[in-house]
Symmetry: none
Subunit: 217 residues, 4 copies
Amino acid sequence: MTSLGNAVRPLPHYLVQRYHGWHATAFTENRAWYRRLADEGQRPRAMVISCCDSRVHVSSIFGADTGEFFIHRNIANLVPPYAPDGQQHGTSAAVEYAVKELRVAHLLVMGHSQCGGVAGCHAMCSGHAPELEEATSFVGRWMDILRPGYEQIKDLPESEQVPALERVAVQISLQNLMGFPFVAEAVEAGTLTLHGLLHDIGDGQLTMLDGGRFVPV
Amino acid sequence: MTSLGNAVRPLPHYLVQRYHGWHATAFTENRAWYRRLADEGQRPRAMVISCCDSRVHVSSIFGADTGEFFIHRNIANLVPPYAPDGQQHGTSAAVEYAVKELRVAHLLVMGHSQCGGVAGCHAMCSGHAPELEEATSFVGRWMDILRPGYEQIKDLPESEQVPALERVAVQISLQNLMGFPFVAEAVEAGTLTLHGLLHDIGDGQLTMLDGGRFVPV
Amino acid sequence: MTSLGNAVRPLPHYLVQRYHGWHATAFTENRAWYRRLADEGQRPRAMVISCCDSRVHVSSIFGADTGEFFIHRNIANLVPPYAPDGQQHGTSAAVEYAVKELRVAHLLVMGHSQCGGVAGCHAMCSGHAPELEEATSFVGRWMDILRPGYEQIKDLPESEQVPALERVAVQISLQNLMGFPFVAEAVEAGTLTLHGLLHDIGDGQLTMLDGGRFVPV
Amino acid sequence: MTSLGNAVRPLPHYLVQRYHGWHATAFTENRAWYRRLADEGQRPRAMVISCCDSRVHVSSIFGADTGEFFIHRNIANLVPPYAPDGQQHGTSAAVEYAVKELRVAHLLVMGHSQCGGVAGCHAMCSGHAPELEEATSFVGRWMDILRPGYEQIKDLPESEQVPALERVAVQISLQNLMGFPFVAEAVEAGTLTLHGLLHDIGDGQLTMLDGGRFVPV
């Protein structure tokens, strides 16, 4: 591991201080529960797929504490199509583990407003971001998952396209989820429900997919 | 979207209630900041790569509020080797976006004790989980990233192997990160620091990689 | 009270947050009614006796809001025989208060499937839980109330015994209730009706005692 | 069971209707989780001891859903002293089951304002309710648990005595809890924390015992 010696640094002090504060307060007051979670393993009720965006806080929005949500976060909260091709699919692995191993009861896909990934996808598909088209662009290739969605929104008025694509990102992820046999089977068996959500960063509103449309919760 | 009609359900009521409580309190008291985050975009200081495990709470451990951390969570907090092959790499996309677009100053890889993904990798590599060896196992193929690490720990006493592999998972991810040209360049230029952390679920302890070893922060 | 100093802790933060959310929403929208309930006292229409089990939600099942149900919850929803012996009988006190002081119109005893208390009683009576037979076992002595019920089900096929005992627990509690003079008098006078219910945790079904048998409501 | 034939009636129709509404909505949307809770058993994080009073809603105050709280409700949220005398102690049985069998991490005792049980105890101890002194009074004998508390508040100004006794009821219950060896051991071992709360029915405020005093949460 010596090759990492110079690149890896001690934790910045401001985070060390906050960690010690957390351990002396929040950890201590929940010590019994955390000990038990360690000894007995997790049993989350739901999986949440949301964006990496620093403005999205899944746990606080739902008043959830340690142990409640199995959380996967990636760029633009996307689920790729089912592809059991022997390649590495981190999102598919997380879904597989949550549904088959942990047997979560709910699977929430939560998109959000002002999503940089979705905006990038829109720029790419509309010809304004050729660098994202390159094979070496990880973000571009990842956003290819949402490319079929561009067709659904490209004829809307300019200003409505990106917000519409944010909604489509949630819907395509849910459709792709239904393409996973073990997801479809669990939904069919009534042991799993899917949910589509969209969170507005600025006004805090949460809407949910209901009958094909996003309505306020 | 009609095909989703029956599979996608409204949000469970207990989460709706909690959301409304959050909106009336935490959101309202931070409304000005959230409005600004929406209008001006995010500007996170750090990226964190951690596990999906419901027992790991990145934000609370570091007292972080909305806007501070760009968070990617996948099974076992793994970063795959750099592979600009035109395929979909969700983790690599998140790293690329954080380093090149958001220009985060710190990149933290945080592992944790009792990790189901690492335990699965150990079972697979030691011949006890043939189902994970199948090409169709998303979890198995994802954990292939950690397979080289098994060689480093397989000669340890039995009871020490999995905990050691949890540490190695952090180290391999950091090494793989250094294989991304834009990461290495940012580290070299002094605009990015890498950090390796391990969180113990049961006793709350946080250790960090320092000089090749994990020491308490 | 200093002796409690170290043992009693502040409320875990996740519950503090949820409470503040509740106060800002549910409480606020019902403020007028709660104010009146505080000033004028409660006037519940029914008393419910159910189990402590975390999977049983009396209020939600019956869409009841604050003020409707006087609720006593104990292990296995049991009512002991009438015994005015000067000893402490928490369940009898609750029944007395509900019937004589609050004059509730209905008294519901609601059992449920997968009841740990009933299963423990079955294990004890069938000789598989000697530790519950000890005088110092509070659970064992409490479940003695249901001991006569074991005689009614012990000759059934093995797999039917515990579910049958869950039904008998409701029936014995109702019979014991009728042994309380003030309950029998209120029933006789037509000012109180008794009801026996059984709730299935897994499929949500609710059955009620009608003519000596449990039938779907 | 025929002796119950005339006393036990079908469920009132308004409750049948609400139940069917619940089953078609709340149950259905959580079917997967409830199925799992039935199959795997409960794993509540906390036990709550609160009053039977119809104006106290434990679950809603804490945004808790099915499976989170093991709830015992009796008159005035009292815990009697530890008395392993082979008699029936319903509250002690519930505490024993929660701590030894379910190993909850938190034990909350939640009192409330305008408590009829506490007011009755005050009337009894101050000589205004001779009927409660009778051996046959279940409520009186139950409230004997709080009798030592009367000594602590009897010299306060008249109007402050009952509210003070409500606080003392929580404290005495917590002290009695610490007299249960398995509770004291779990607290000592750090696997259980105790919490004292007081809920104001009228203004919704929640205070907690902290350093011997009740302070707003």
